[in-house]
């Protein structure tokens, strides 16, 4: 299908935060076109936050995300809990939502019916088109959402824990679907918890604990040492955390330098001391580079 144009995502000194507390902290790197990337990390490591940031749901506090411009180019599967399943909607209509960027608010979806039925058949939901979404089981509903992703036909797919609460058979089916998307050259990023699954199906992994612990080939990333480090890095946010003085991105334009310089002065006003990296309270943190860290990123697996 139409995956010829650039489907890469570049993260440049990206910080995403809730109320100034970073959930994703100074993340640098590029997700190349056609990547099949697993996003791994403990709870609270910023996996969902990163996906929301890429899709534009959370504004960047610092740094930026370079991604293809048109809205239709990114498909995002959130955790299913955010959908109102009691709404009296038929499965076919749910799947047809994926046609939005082609149909907009008014054009008829009727000519696309065979394509919608085909998508349902691909996820094993043939014959379910007239069921209400509230009557589907958890796994069936997840299949329906994957059918909507098929219909969206996006170059970049972001999946947030797509297999949570889904049985083995369904997971296997959906993984096969992800594999076929990968073969078509789409860029796929999936937040996952099952390490065996990641090792078996995802060639690239980003191990996240607010910052990138390791990023590269799955085998090299998912070492016991890296996982332990991610665990220790990811403790909950610190109410009294000091202002971060690390440079977001050395190679940005003058605008950015200016704003950061401002942050610096502010910091000195507030504390009278400058320190680098996260708050000293995080004693468990391993020694990390104090200065800007452009090398941290793709291929920098420990």
């Amino acid at each position: 299908m139409s995956c010829d144009r650039d489907g890469a995502i570049a993260l440049r000194g990206l910080t995403l935060a809730y109320d100034r507390h970073p959930a994703v902290h100074h993340l640098d790197g590029t997700i190349p076109q056609g990547a099949l990337l697993a996003l791994v990390g403990p709870n609270g490591a910023g996996k969902s936050t990163l996906l929301k940031g890429i899709v534009g749901e959370i504004p960047c506090l610092e740094g930026r995300i370079e991604r293809p411009a048109p809205k239709g180019s990114i498909a995002y599967l959130p955790q299913a809990a955010e959908i109102d399943r009691s709404f009296p909607l038929r499965v076919l209509d749910l799947v047809a939502m994926g046609l939005w960027h082609r149909l907009g608010p008014w054009r008829s979806a009727r000519p696309h019916r065979p394509m919608l039925m085909d998508a349902l058949a691909k996820v094993g939901l043939g014959g379910f088109e007239d069921r209400l979404i509230g009557t589907l089981s958890g796994g069936q509903f997840q299949r329906a959402l994957f059918a909507r992703l098929i219909v969206q036909d996006a170059r970049i797919l972001l999946l947030d824990e797509p297999f949570t609460g889904v049985d083995g058979r369904t997971t296997a089916d959906l993984l096969a679907l992800i594999r076929s998307w990968h073969d078509q050259g789409r860029t796929i990023v999936a937040a996952l918890h099952d390490l065996a699954q990641v090792r078996g199906h995802f060639p690239q992994t980003l191990l996240l604990a607010r910052e990138a612990v390791a990023w590269g080939a799955t085998g090299a990333v998912l070492t016991a040492e890296n996982l332990a480090r991610a665990q220790s890095l990811s403790e909950a946010w610190d109410e009294d955390a000091a202002i971060c003085g690390r440079h977001a991105e050395p190679a940005t334009g003058p605008d950015h330098d200016h704003s950061h310089a401002h942050a610096h002065t502010h910091e000195h006003h507030a504390h009278g001391e400058g320190h680098h990296g996260p708050s000293p309270a995080k004693a468990a943190s391993p020694p990390k580079p104090a200065a800007p860290d452009p090398a941290r990123g793709h291929g920098h697996a420990a």
């Binding site: 899709v55 809205k71 955010e82 009296p88 909607l89 939005w100 608010p105 979404i133």
Partner: protein, 288 residues
């Protein structure tokens, strides 16, 4: 029986006018109510009907019992509250019901204050319980216009509105239509409440919007069925309510809403979809 139901409409012009006005409102308000119910915002319309009061009161203070002045005032106050509540919801952590409650209370208190500044209790009762038996030409045009705008408006925003209800996050990721659609929908709610306030009074305007919508839930499985059923129930309530009010010489607004309430209770008992009778005496379960 037919004479009992339709006699008054054949005999008296003011009854025919009342019927036309109520039927127009029955076309526009229930579909809006269906969406309100499905978004779990049923009580929001009640709040909004109160929020309209200060605007109507200002119109009343400026121009006396004048339909255009009170309508414009009500529209302005309602849209203002809807907009402020929407803005607060979308830009802070406060949920829609809480921000709406805050603004409607401010608005209602202001309205009561304004009404008490001038005008007697009788005027207030008139505002609250409507004047369905005294609909003049401009009032009928207003109701007809509101019905027309509502139906075309709903048709125009139908798809994004459904998406906004089911999966707002998805709509946000594929389009920026979510915000405008939400405000357009709130605008339709306010417009219908103002129309209903003309015919039935502020307190009862909500009845014709919500009761038929909730009753329809017991008869139809999905939206395409619920909307027409809710319109039918509203029209039936209008005819029954007007006849009863004429025959028994009781106030018209409450009679119409009570008729809708009766149809709701009947639907709840014998409705095909989850009605009580079907729940108590369901057939033996199927094999698969």
């Amino acid at each position: 029986m037919i004479d009992l139901l339709f006699g008054p409409f054949i005999e008296f012009g003011f009854m025919r006018r009342a019927l036309v006005g109520c039927l127009a409102l029955s076309l526009s308000a229930p579909p809006v109510g269906v969406f309100l119910m499905l978004r779990r915002m049923s009580l929001m319309s009640d709040a909004m009907s109160h929020a309209i009061l200060p605007g109507a009161a200002v119109g009343f203070l400026v121009a006396g019992l004048s339909l255009p002045a009170m309508t414009l005032g009500g529209l302005a106050a309602g849209l203002c509250v809807a907009l402020m509540a929407g803005l607060v919801t979308r830009s802070t952590a406060i949920k829609e019901d809480a921000s709406l409650a805050a603004f409607y209370l401010i608005s209602l208190a202001g309205g009561v204050l304004l009404v008490s500044l001038r005008g007697s209790q009788i005027d207030l009762l008139h505002i609250l319980f409507g004047s369905v038996l005294a609909l003049d030409d401009p009032a009928l045009w207003l109701l007809g216009g509101i019905a027309t705008v509502t139906l075309f408006g709903l048709a125009a925003i139908y798809r994004p509105l459904v998406m906004e209800c089911v999966d707002p996050l998805f709509l946000r990721t594929v389009s920026r239509a979510g915000g405008p659609v939400h405000y357009a929908f709130l605008g339709l709610v306010v417009m219908n409440l103002v129309g209903g306030f003309q015919a039935l009074g502020t307190l009862l305007a909500v009845g014709l919007m919500l009761l038929p919508a909730i009753a329809a839930r017991f008869w139809a499985a999905d939206l395409s069925g619920m909307i027409p059923v809710s319109v039918l129930i509203a029209m039936l309530s209008s005819v029954i309510g007007l006849s009863v009010s004429y025959q028994a010489d009781v106030p018209t607004g409450p009679a119409i809403v009570l008729a809708a309430g009766g149809l709701y209770l009947a639907s709840m008992l014998v409705g095909r979809r989850g009605g009580l009778v079907y729940r108590l005496f369901r057939g033996r379960h199927l094999e698969a």
